[in-house]
C-alpha cells in the first residue's frame, strides 16, 4: 500500500508539473500573440488547398500579402485525395483553417457537417453575389445560405490531335458515340491509344464517368435502366476494342493529359485547365471539340470553390481575402493564366476568352453542362460511383454492377 501511495504521489507531482509547464507554455504563446497584435495588429490566416503548382492562384495570395500589412495568408498544400479527410480530422480537433479551397461538389456536405462557415451575412452585405453567374453559386448553397464562393468553373470536352487525325484520314472530330468508337479504333496502333480519360478511384473517376451516363439519357437513380446499362457497356466496348487503355483505372486527369501531350493518345477527355499547358508544350496541332453525343449532349460542370472554416476566429479578415480575389483585375489575370472558366459575369466577356476557339468550346459546354447536385451525401455517392467505374473497367457484367450501385445510391439520394 505504501508503495502504491508513494508512486501515486510521485506521479501526481509530475502531472502537476506537466500541467504547470503546459499552462506556462500557453501563457507565453498567447502573450506573444498579443505582443504581435499590439505591435502591428497583424493577423495570420491559414489557407488549405490542393493547388499544386498553380502559379496564377499562388500569385494572388502573394499579391494579397504584399498589399496587406495587417493580414498575412499562410498556405498549406494538401493532396486532393487526402483533402476531405484532412478537413474532417481538423474539424474534429477544432483546428480548421481560416480559409479552404475544395471541389465545389463537397460544399453541401461540408455545410451539413458544420465544417464550412455560413457566410451569407457577409456576402449579402458586400453585394459580392451579384457578380457571379447564378448557376455557379448553387453548389455552395445549402438550405438557402451561402457556404462558399466559386473560384472558377470548368467542364469536360474532347481534345484531339489534328496531325494524327489527318494521318488516319479523318477531317473532323467525332460527333456521336458511334463516331468516337470508330475513330478511336482507326487511331489506335502499337504505340498510340485512340482515347485517354481518367478512371482513378477518386472524385476524378466519378467526374469523368457521369457525362456518359447523362449522354445515354440516364442518371444516378436510373443506373440500371436500359440507358444506364448502355453507357456502362459502351465504355466497356471501348476498352475491349483496345482503343482505351485499361490502365485508365489508375489515371487521373493529369495522367490522361500526359498521355495526350506525349502523343500516346490521339484523343483525350479533359477539362479546360489543360489549354494553357498544351498551348505552351504540345509539339503538334490540336483542337477541342464538344463531347460526342449519345442520346443527347451532356457534359459535367466542375470547379473549385473557396470557403471559410467554421471555427475560424478571423472570419472578417478571411472574407477580406475573398473580396480581394474577386476584384475584377486580379480575377481576370488569374483566370486567363489558370485556364479555367470564369464564374464572374464581367470576365466571361473578356476578348481573350471569347476569341480563343478552344475556350469557346468549353464555354459553350456550360449551356448544357450538369452539376453534381446530389445533396449532402454526395461524397458517399461518389464513392459508390468510383467502385462502379472500377468494375466497369475490369469488365464486370454491366447490368449487375449497375443494379448494385443503384441500390446503394438510392437511399443516399433520399435523405436530401
Amino acid at each position: 500500500m505504501f508503495r502504491i501511495k508513494n508512486f501515486l504521489f510521485v506521479f501526481s507531482v509530475f502531472l502537476i508539473m506537466g500541467v504547470i509547464t503546459a499552462c506556462s507554455g500557453g501563457d507565453s504563446a498567447s502573450s506573444s500573440e498579443t505582443n504581435k497584435a499590439e505591435g502591428s495588429d497583424q493577423v495570420t490566416l491559414e489557407i488549405w488547398d490542393f493547388m499544386q503548382g498553380r502559379d496564377a492562384y499562388i500569385n494572388v495570395i502573394e499579391k494579397f500579402n504584399e498589399e496587406h500589412e495587417d493580414i498575412q495568408i499562410k498556405r498549406t498544400e494538401i493532396t486532393r485525395s487526402n483533402f476531405d479527410s484532412k478537413m474532417i480530422n481538423a474539424a474534429a480537433a477544432n483546428e480548421l483553417p481560416d480559409l479552404f479551397v475544395n471541389s465545389h461538389s463537397r460544399f453541401q456536405a461540408f455545410a451539413d457537417a458544420g465544417i464550412a462557415a455560413n457566410i451569407s451575412d457577409m456576402i449579402n452585405e458586400s453585394g459580392l453575389d451579384q457578380k457571379f453567374f447564378e448557376g455557379s453559386l448553387e453548389p455552395q448553397i445549402f438550405k438557402g445560405d451561402y457556404y462558399g464562393l466559386p473560384l472558377y468553373n470548368n467542364d469536360l470536352a474532347l481534345y484531339y490531335n489534328k496531325e494524327m487525325f489527318e494521318k488516319a484520314g479523318l477531317d473532323s472530330p467525332p460527333e456521336t458515340w458511334e463516331d468516337i468508337r470508330d475513330y478511336a479504333n482507326k487511331l489506335t496502333n502499337d504505340n498510340v491509344y485512340g482515347l485517354a480519360m481518367a478512371g482513378s478511384k477518386d472524385e476524378q473517376g466519378t467526374f469523368n464517368f457521369l457525362p456518359w451516363i447523362w449522354q445515354a439519357g440516364a442518371d444516378l437513380d436510373t443506373l440500371s435502366s436500359e440507358e444506364g446499362v448502355n453507357a456502362i457497356e459502351f465504355r466497356q466496348t471501348l476498352l475491349e476494342d483496345g482503343s482505351v487503355s485499361k490502365e485508365m483505372l489508375n489515371w487521373q486527369q493529369n495522367d490522361a493529359n500526359l498521355q495526350f501531350l506525349s502523343e500516346q493518345a490521339a484523343m483525350q477527355i479533359n477539362g479546360s485547365w489543360n489549354v494553357p499547358t498544351l498551348n505552351k508544350e504540345a509539339e503538334f496541332e490540336w483542337a477541342v471539340a464538344e463531347l460526342p453525343k449519345g442520346k443527347q449532349r451532356a457534359t459535367i460542370i466542375g470547379g473549385e470553390a473557396i470557403g471559410i472554416g467554421s471555427t475560424s476566429k478571423h472570419k472578417e479578415e478571411a472574407f477580406e481575402f475573398m473580396k480581394f480575389f474577386y476584384d475584377e483585375e486580379t480575377y481576370k489575370s488569374f483566370i486567363l493564366e489558370d485556364g479555367n472558366l470564369p464564374s464572374i459575369k464581367a470576365i466571361a466577356e473578356a476578348p481573350e476568352i471569347v476569341n480563343d476557339p478552344n475556350m469557346k468550346v468549353f464555354t459553350k459546354g456550360l449551356e448544357y453542362a450538369k452539376s453534381r447536385a446530389y445533396g449532402p451525401n454526395y461524397p458517399e455517392i461518389s464513392a459508390v460511383v468510383q467502385e462502379l467505374v472500377q468494375a466497369t473497367v475490369l469488365g464486370k457484367d454491366a447490368e449487375k454492377i449497375a443494379k448494385e450501385a443503384e441500390k446503394e445510391i438510392k437511399p443516399l439520394l433520399m435523405t436530401e
Binding site: R3, N6, F7, V10, F11, F14, G18, D84, S85, I88, A91, A92, A109, D112, A113, G114, I115, K201, S245, K246, E247, L249, N250, Q264, P379, E380, A383, E387, Q390, A391, V393, L394, K396
Partner: protein
C-alpha cells in the same frame, strides 16, 4: 543513574534518528528510481494507451460526418454487427492472410539463403551485403512508387523485359487487374523485406560455434546434413523471434498498398489495415473503422501472447 539514562536516551535518539534517516534515504532513493521511469510511463500513457482506449471507445459509437463534431452517439455493438455482415471484411482477412503468409515464407527462404551466402568469405562480400541493406533503408512509399512504375501495364519495364525474353505475349496489367494486383504488392513487399530477414539471420549465424561444424565434418556429415542437424536447431530462437516480427510487420502493411493500388482494383488488394483506413478516412465512418481496428488489435494481441509463450518455452529449455 542520570548519566546512564541520559546516555540511553541519547542512544535511543541517535538510533531513532539513524533509523529515520535511513528510512528517508530509502524513500528518496525510491522516488528517484521512479522519477526515471516517469518519461516512459508518460510516453506509454499518451502515445499507446490513450489511442488504444480511444479507439475501443470509438468502436462502440456511431460517428460519421454528420455527428463527429458533437462526439457521436453510443451505438453498442452495432458497428461490430455491421462489420461482420460486410463481405469485404472476409475478403480483407483472406487478402491479409495470403499476403502475410506469402511474405513470411518467401522472405524467410530467400533471406536465409542470402544469409548463408554472405556468411562465406569471398571478394566483395561486404560491399554486396551493404548494397542489399540499402533496400531495407528505403521508405515503403518509395518502394511503392518504384514498383508502381516498374509494373505499369503499358509502359512498365517489367512487361518490357518479359516480352523481350519471350515469356509473355501481351502486357500484363500487374497493378490494374484483379488477378495480379495482390501478387504485385506482395512481390514489392517481399523485395523490401528480405534484407531484414537476412541481417537478423546473419547475426544469428555468426554466434554459432565453428567447432561443431568441424566435429560434424570429422564424423562424416555433409553440408546439407550439418545444416539440418546443427544450423537449424541452433538457430531456432533467432528464427522464432524473426518469424514473429515478420508476421506482425507484414500483417500491418499499409503504406505500400496505399501507394501502389489504393486497395484496388475493386478491393483486390484491400487488407485489414487498409480496410480500417477506408472505412474511417474515405467513407468517414469512424465507428466502423474503429471496430475493424479493434478486431486487428485482438488478432495482434493473440499473436503477441503466442510469441511470449514460445519465448518462455525457449528460455526454459
Amino acid at each position: 543513574m542520570d548519566t546512564k539514562t541520559e546516555a540511553t536516551r541519547l542512544n535511543m535518539n541517535t538510533k531513532q534518528k539513524v533509523k529515520y534517516k535511513k528510512n528517508s534515504k530509502k524513500k528518496m532513493n525510491w522516488i528517484t528510481d521512479h522519477l526515471f521511469l516517469f518519461p516512459t510511463i508518460l510516453f506509454f500513457l499518451i502515445f499507446i494507451l490513450y489511442p488504444i482506449l480511444y479507439n475501443i471507445m470509438l468502436s462502440f459509437k456511431k460517428m460519421d460526418v454528420s455527428n463527429f463534431m458533437t462526439g457521436g452517439v453510443w451505438a453498442g455493438l452495432a458497428n461490430y454487427q455491421a462489420i461482420f455482415s460486410d463481405p469485404l471484411l472476409y475478403k480483407a482477412l483472406l487478402n491479409s492472410f495470403i499476403f502475410t503468409f506469402a511474405c513470411i515464407v518467401i522472405e524467410f527462404i530467400i533471406g536465409f539463403a542470402l544469409a548463408l551466402l554472405f556468411r562465406q568469405k569471398f571478394p566483395g562480400v561486404n560491399f554486396m551485403r551493404g548494397l542489399i541493406l540499402v533496400v531495407w533503408m528505403l521508405p515503403s512509399v518509395v518502394v511503392g512508387v518504384l514498383y508502381k512504375w516498374i509494373m505499369a501495364g503499358d509502359s512498365g519495364v517489367l512487361n518490357f523485359v518479359l516480352t523481350q525474353v519471350g515469356l509473355i505475349e501481351e502486357n500484363i496489367l500487374w497493378v490494374s487487374s484483379e488477378q495480379f494486383a495482390l501478387i504485385a504488392v506482395t512481390a514489392a513487399n517481399i523485395w523490401h523485406g528480405i534484407p531484414f530477414y537476412m541481417i537478423i539471420l546473419l547475426g544469428g549465424l555468426s554466434t554459432l560455434p565453428r567447432d561443431l561444424y568441424e566435429a560434424a565434418k570429422i564424423d562424416g556429415a555433409n553440408g546439407w546434413k550439418s545444416f539440418l542437424k546443427i544450423t537449424l536447431p541452433l538457430m531456432k530462437p533467432t528464427v522464432l523471434v524473426l518469424l514473429m516480427l515478420g508476421l506482425i510487420n507484414s500483417f500491418k502493411v499499409f503504406d505500400l498498398i496505399y501507394v501502389m493500388t489504393g486497395g484496388g482494383p475493386l478491393d483486390a488488394t484491400t487488407v485489414i489495415p487498409y480496410y480500417a483506413y477506408k472505412l474511417s478516412f474515405l467513407q468517414f465512418n469512424f465507428g466502423e473503422g474503429g471496430a475493424v481496428s479493434g478486431i486487428m488489435l485482438i488478432l495482434v494481441i493473440i499473436l503477441a501472447i503466442v510469441y511470449l509463450k514460445l519465448m518462455q518455452k525457449e528460455e526454459a529449455n
